[in-house]
Subunit: 427 residues, 2 copies
């Protein structure tokens, strides 16, 4: 049976999707029974040269026309960004058309509202490609694990920063150098801010935590730190101590509430996430019944992302043909969001101190005042000064911060040169 | 909204599912909007003592009554085995009731027929729990990746044999000893044949290959070897050479056809599957668009399996409430099955030979006659005799076998003591 598809966006993913839908149409019909016919592709510029040329009879630069076109049964949004994508998606849902989107920024910012509108209209809003590129993670979370009380989500969800950190730690590149290389290879944008600041990862973390815990976690509620201030010297020290840096996405549910955060962390070398290299993504999902699941694969790129989009298209098309009044896959209930200060974390701290008797005792005593105990210490003297590396035990994030602030006011501490959180041994 | 559920089978998974549906009912309603009410549980013996007692008002030993009960909207089959499970599932579908099953044996043997009946009746037949326990793998394959042309499936799909092989290789246990320990821990049945013979893995491989390639692969078409003849001495040699033994499930699609097989293989220690220990499962899925995906987690047990079953129940219940006339998720087309002899494999061969000049040349020459070249050789002399270990390069399985048969007839070869296939370095 025929399903008319409109695609908003003719970039990398849109092009890969269009090409696949055209070239593999017979195979898709054979495997799914669905004739997916692309009837319009809306682009910003009609004159741009594209890797896969869009047939003239379907290209348009008027996205509203695509939404209103009665021959379009299903809308695919691949424009990215909040507007006009948000308005167009809302209008498509309002018109009773199911929407498939890869737009993590939009889903993280307005997901609750869009899902509600989709529910009112009895159509699907699907966004498998918004997190983890080609890795099926949204559908497993919202369908396969719909009955599980998920307690933790932990992963690497931004391939760009993972590539940069991999190059910095394995090949001793500086941050700027690694960013330039990532740009040259097409892994990083001309303006890499969204990736290196953790904003992209924060949007994905908000989506993962929302689906995992059934409480809508807005992207503003995700604590966020980027990788911009990671220095090569700390990566060398970390390697010596058996750690590798990763930008981690972490969501945790406890009886007292839900928390979500994104920050760099030193991961033990024998941790399963330590081996996730380059532009790959990996996500652990944990629950009391199911135990611990790991999903891993390419986190970005035209092919993988288009595959995830296509899976959603097929799912939505099946529902259309079943004339189903679609019930939402997951409902969101209000839940308490825990402040990051209430979460237990471990820290790596690099201090520049005076190389004098009693300094270590003073530093350890300061941590102790805030209930933070020290797991291990290394000192490297250089005449009158010394570098002191500490790794703390688990303690409240608020207390770790207070202890470090107190260290800054000690006379013997020249500089708190670096603080990086440390991930526990267990996955 | 209320959905009446009937469960066939009150064993480990049935008990875990019932307990969860009763204890977590409010949480499930909050998260999914579905009130899943278990109205009948059919068991073999009414008098058996159970970890989670089944309320007397819903227990029955008449499974047919459960199928016919008009208050049962959805049937969950957790009895296992071909009959009477197959007959009951067929009757439930015939009555227009969606069926969720964890029965890999049944799906592998009669899946095509059951799926066809479900299609005729416009209801779902879901079996996420049949492969990989709690790991979402069936839904990703049949939905998320429905549009991808999957070329390879590779994994560890039997936790019992993985536990046994892990103990044998890491702790030097003999096969019988490792089996006894697995039985004591509840990982292996009193009769471990289905696991150690590879039959359980073959059923799962048939299901994975069928869904991945869109061609129904019957379990009889899966080449199968078990782990019974693996000897500790070869595991010690393998460890020295940098390999660990795994029972691999492999499905491959090439332009000339589809093949599926299960056999022990030596896996390089730096291969991602080498680190899958104990009763865990892990599956790689590969396609030209999506690249390489890995799914990992607990492959068996009441909790994980019940979670997968529950995800299917929620999915089927959503469709029921949408009054959807369900189209099949995946269609199967006829495809050519390739004989295992046509597949390229690498072999590890242990020979007992006379320690005389020219023996190695003779052995290498014999392999060469069949187009098999040798990658590496180790020889250990013991007076007049010697042990010769060889690892071959990739060659046709049929040629590897013919070469080994020819070796048997050489005078200088006392015994072909072991042959085990070797997995390539790439995942």
């Amino acid at each position: 049976m025929k399903v008319g598809i409109g695609i908003l966006g003719g970039g990398t993913v849109g092009g890969a999707l269009l090409q696949y839908l055209i070239n593999e149409q017979a195979a898709i019909v054979a495997k799914t029974g669905l004739e997916l016919e692309v009837r319009r592709v809306a682009v910003r510029s009609l004159s741009k040269t594209r890797a896969f040329p869009i047939p003239v009879e379907i290209i348009t630069d008027r996205p509203e026309q695509l939404i209103d076109d009665p021959s379009i049964d299903l809308v695919v949004e691949l424009m990215g960004g909040l507007e006009p994508a948000g308005d167009l998606v809302m209008r498509a849902l309002q018109a009773g058309k199911p929407v498939v989107t890869a737009n993590k920024e939009l889903v993280a910012a307005r997901g609750a509202e869009l899902i509600q509108r989709a529910e009112e209209k009895g159509v699907s809003l699907l966004f498998e490609a918004a997190v983890g590129g080609g890795i099926p993670i949204i559908r497993p979370l919202s369908e396969s694990l719909a009955g599980e009380r998920i307690t933790r989500v932990l992963g690497i969800v931004n391939g760009t920063t993972n590539y940069i950190l991999t190059r910095m730690s394995e090949d001793d590149l500086g941050f700027d150098e690694a960013v330039e290389e990532a740009q040259a290879l097409g892994y990083a944008e001309a303006d890499p801010t969204a990736d290196v600041s953790g904003a992209d990862a924060a949007a994905k973390t908000a989506i993962l935590a929302s689906l995992a815990f059934g409480t809508w976690v807005s992207v503003d509620a995700v604590y966020r730190e980027g990788i911009e201030s990671i220095e090569p010297i700390d990566l060398r020290f970390a390697a010596t101590l058996g750690y590798i840096p990763k930008l981690l996405a972490i969501g945790v549910e406890t009886p007292t509430g839900v928390s979500a955060r994104v920050h760099p962390a030193l991961v033990p070398l024998d941790h399963p996430l330590a081996s996730v290299r380059g532009a790959n993504n990996a996500v652990f999902i944990e629950g009391p019944q199911v135990g611990q699941l790991l999903f891993m694969g390419p986190g970005a790129g035209g092919g993988p992302t288009a595959t995830a989009v296509l899976g959603d298209i097929i799912d939505a098309a099946r529902e259309l043909l079943a004339h189903a009044q679609v019930a939402p896959r997951i409902r969101f209930a209000p839940g308490r969001l825990r402040d990051f200060g209430e979460i237990e974390t471990k820290w790596y701290v690099r201090l520049e101190v005076a190389d004098a008797p009693g300094v270590l005792a003073l530093v350890a005593g300061t941590f102790g005042e805030f209930g933070v105990s020290i797991k291990s210490v290394w000192q490297e003297g250089r005449g009158e000064d010394a570098t002191l590396l500490l790794i703390t035990h688990d303690a409240l994030e608020a207390n770790q911060r207070a202890a470090v602030a107190a260290l800054r006011s000690l006379d013997v501490v020249t500089e708190v040169a670096a603080t990086i959180r440390v991930q526990s041994d267990e996955p």
